[in-house]
Symmetry: C2
Subunit: 245 residues, 2 copies
DNA sequence: AAGTGGTCTAGACCACATT
DNA sequence: ATGTGGTCTAGACCACTTT
């Protein structure tokens, strides 16, 4: 007979996995848990909080706690940035690919001193000037990604890349016209829990990690021309990379 | 004057970011927080628990709560599986690459009916037989990854791939000798919080996500010959992908 | 022995959603 | 008006680590 918050949470999770509670279904509330398991309200609350912290449930204050659903966008880095890639089978996860349009919000462009890590990745002197383009991406009016990209100011200062609207084809097209087309990319990524600030900026649900990606774009000669730091809502994304000969 | 657990946690986090508490340093304990912020013990406990849940701190019962350190292994998927790749600059994160040897534990090989998702990815009939190779990877005797790979049984049943030790060069070398060399790979990944079961199997610290990777290996003809499901401790890994022409 | 985090009880108040 | 989750207080006991 489960008595602790951890045990109650595990029991509920097992019942979810068994299909007793499907995606989107309302779980037993705190009063029900107090009754069924014979514990104090704070313990019942703690059990539900554990499920939320594990990303298994979402609480809607005033309404109840519900089993969480996962229908990610599929981000295919290789396909987007490289020439023609095959696109066979879909993801393991039921994805919303293409269905919902992505929009850009809060686009800002400015010139700054390069932070140390940017200078290192861009292979420029510390304190060199960079053009900084930051924006958020929305799906269904919900933020799913924040991106900030850095480009050497002496390369792009007087181009459309330094304007909010870089024109047809985007900044990579403009870079190509400057003779520094990015053709090779590296992405370093990690997953972690968001700070409370990041959590609100991305409107991430509790119990949801973020994926932090640093992408560097190189020309054929190996010159780094852009660094892009992205922060993704891990509850909204699945990532795909394809590689090999 | 912060009074709630959330506010105390944010205050502590700010002081960590300010450098007042460096990596590995002990944070003020529950009694200190009760005194300094004038709250009940459970609230102080809740504040520290929040920091732990955000992956900012680690609690050592009986000793204290400490600022967490992040020194990941760098997993370069592209480099490991593809032919000669450049290796310029290191990661944004201070990585332990190469320093610590990785060992394999709990290696098991068996033959089973293919689960539905495996059958789909391997492009075989549902219920077809597969060879299943599962293992855990350890660094410093700590588990950091679990991996289970599936190969068509009719292809590899009577080869060393169905043995615990596949021999020099590993299973990809054996597949090549069978005339089905994997040359192209796709990885689909997501990040999420672990179940309590996964959490203990990987010995993941609280507040640490896991990264779930599904890799499919294809021959030059486009035949899928292996599916590998990996579960990584996100606190132990940074991932690198390089691509482009 | 003293100090630490972990967690439960019992009761209270709040903000919010639903009816 | 009722029910929901959210959170705090105050006190208690436990297991563990450190001294």
């Amino acid at each position: 007979m489960p008595e602790t918050a951890r045990q109650i949470a595990d029991d509920l999770r097992a019942r979810i996995d068994d299909g007793e509670f499907g995606p989107g279904v309302r779980l037993p509330g705190e009063p029900a848990l107090v009754r069924d398991y014979g514990v104090a309200k704070m313990t019942a609350s703690g059990a539900l909080k554990l499920l939320v912290a594990e990303g298994m449930a979402v609480s809607r204050p005033g309404s109840g706690t519900y089993v969480r659903e996962f229908k990610p966008l599929l981000r295919d880095a290789t396909k987007r940035l490289s020439r023609a890639r095959r696109d066979d089978g879909r993801s393991i996860w039921s994805t919303d690919v293409g269905a919902r349009p992505m929009s850009v919000a809060d686009l800002e462009v400015c010139e700054e001193d390069a932070p140390r890590w940017v200078a290192r990745l861009l292979q420029v002197d510390e304190g060199a000037r960079v053009i900084v383009r930051s924006r958020r991406y929305l799906v269904d009016d919900e933020p799913v990604q924040r991106a900030v990209s850095y480009l050497p100011a002496d390369l792009v200062r007087n181009t459309r890349i330094a304007q909010p609207d870089p024109g047809q084809g985007g900044i990579y097209q403009r870079l190509a016209e400057l003779g520094v087309e990015p053709v090779r990319f590296g992405e370093d990524l990690r997953a972690r829990m968001p700070s409370s600030e990041e959590s609100s900026a991305l409107a991430v649900l509790p119990g949801t990690p973020v994926i932090e990606i640093y992408r560097t774009a190189y020309t054929a000669e190996g010159r780094a021309v852009e660094v892009n730091r992205m922060l993704l809502d891990a509850g909204a994304y699945a990532l795909r990379y394809t590689f090999g000969d």
